[in-house]
Amino acid sequence: MTDMILSSAPAGPNPRLHAALAKARRRIVATAWVLASLSLFVGIWELAWWQKWANPLLLPPPHIFLTNLPDQFRFFDPTGARAGALNAGGSIWSVLGVIGWSSLRVFVGLVLGFAISLVVGLAIRYFEIFGKLVLPLVTMLAPISPVAWLPVAVFFFGIGNPPAIFLVFIAVFFIMVLATLAQVDAVPKHYIQLARVMGASKRQIYLRVILPAILPGLFVTLRMNLFAAWMVVLIAEAVGVGSGLGQVTMMARNTFNASLVFFTMTLIGLTGFAFDQTLGLIQRKVLWWVGPSTVKGA
């Protein structure tokens, strides 16, 4: 009997503290694995350099392209005004500025893409005639790669932020419209029947039942398409904008600056990771209820 009590009671005098410690331990273990994964990768790379398997000019190891920072910083110009030229004395701020511009383009494109695709998707189901007119179009445009839209973006928007944002928008818009439709169709029938029994109008059903029911699932889809958005923004920056991380990468390629290529790639990786983590956080804290496609009933 006492055994049972002992084993079922949380170890330690304070169960809250115990839970917090357990959580912290899980975090540390998870972080350790991330670091181990990175170290393995870096280790092999450094080994290749040390053993002279790889040409250090083409494949400089991390300790080289991550240590000559002031040298790297010189290439970063948030405005892109001196693109391609070697400037004297860039700073960490200019690097952050470049990252900031790319991030802003992705962010604005994602927000617009998410919001407008949601509205269009809901409207396709809400207004029958609109749906019949628009859905075939969306389905036909969806498979076209955003890269193919690049000329269109430049024709319409010229050079600067708008074409880059437009391309990010295109990269998520069509997919998200189709995802919205799939989510709307997957809303449990009982939810809608209940709302109808309670006297809800069609509008109320869409706003108060269907919308909250589909949001978490859509957010997951958005998060999965985040990387496509990053890919597209880099292409847009390399070709049409003239600033941002994509421009720096392109310039590094054109000048055969392998160190700079890898340094920029590292920045892109870290920024993309931060975006993904942020979206994950929003998903857990704001849209905590589970999507209808994964949980039935309840």
Partner: protein, 261 residues
């Protein structure tokens, strides 16, 4: 004019114009008086849920008439409330907001609504859990929340589709007691579908046994014994046997038909 639910020669065929029409209910007539507790028993797939949906106004009958207090049922209405086997609470709302969902659709003073929700939660025995999320509740608690949500609309007819089927036997018994109390105090009519003969015996004024699909009424059994009922009394055991025999025949038929498919 008949008070309560009145169903006359009702037929429901699913996909009536499609390539494979499914007759679910066939020329069925049934009355549920004001304040009466009717339990529907029948083999799986015989059209019980279809009938409930039609009574709720969510689906249209193919032919026949269905009225409540003399008025034809053509669309859903809050005074005819529906409860499913799974509570179908909205996971994005707190328990309190789930209970108050219908009231908020109807509009009105937030203050009044909040008081009413609190009173309802107490009535179903869930006083202190208004701020919790549905996912944090047990199955029995969820079903009580669903009951409170339905009661909030002051229903005159409660349509219940196997409401306790997913609960364990002890919880189920408590929920039945609970339902009886609420039924008595509210004066609503109840039409409840179940697969459990014991549940039917414990609850019903009248048990309606359906035939295999398409559903028709095979037999009606009146139970006058006062509640709470002792299901082990000779009278109840006899009634239970009768139900079982009636059902067994139809289940055999239903299976035979399914084997032909």
């Amino acid at each position: 004019m008949a008070l309560g639910l009145s169903i006359t020669n009702l037929t429901k065929v699913w996909n009536a114009d499609g390539p494979a029409p499914v007759p679910a209910v066939n020329s069925l007539s049934l009355n549920v008086a004001r304040g009466e507790f009717v339990v529907l028993l029948g083999p799986s797939g015989c059209g019980k849920s279809s009938l409930l949906y039609i009574a709720a106004g969510l689906e249209q009958a193919t032919s026949g008439t269905i009225t409540f207090d003399g008025l034809a049922i053509t669309e859903p209405a809050p005074e005819r409330s529906l409860i499913f086997q799974e509570a179908a609470l909205f996971p994005w709302l707190s328990v309190r907001d789930n209970v108050g969902f219908g009231l908020s659709i109807r509009g009105g003073q937030p203050q009044e609504r909040a008081e009413r929700v609190d009173a309802l939660m107490k009535r179903v025995g869930l006083g202190g859990i208004g701020d919790r999320r549905p996912e944090q509740l047990s199955g029995g608690m969820r079903q009580r929340v669903a009951l409170a949500r339905a009661l909030a609309m002051n229903p005159e007819l409660l349509l219940m589709d196997e409401p306790f089927a997913a609960l364990d036997i002890q919880t189920r018994a408590r929920m039945q007691e609970h339902l009886l109390e609420i039924w008595k105090s509210s004066g609503a009519s109840v039409m409840l579908v179940t697969h459990s003969i014991d549940e039917a015996l414990a609850l019903a004024d009248r048990i309606v046994v359906f035939t295999a699909r398409p559903g028709q009424i095979k037999a009606e059994l009146h139970i006058d014994a006062p509640r709470p009922r002792d299901l082990r009394s000779p009278e109840m055991i006899e009634l239970g046997r009768e139900c079982e025999a009636l059902l067994a025949e139809e289940v055999t038929k239903a299976f035979a038909e399914q084997e032909l498919l």
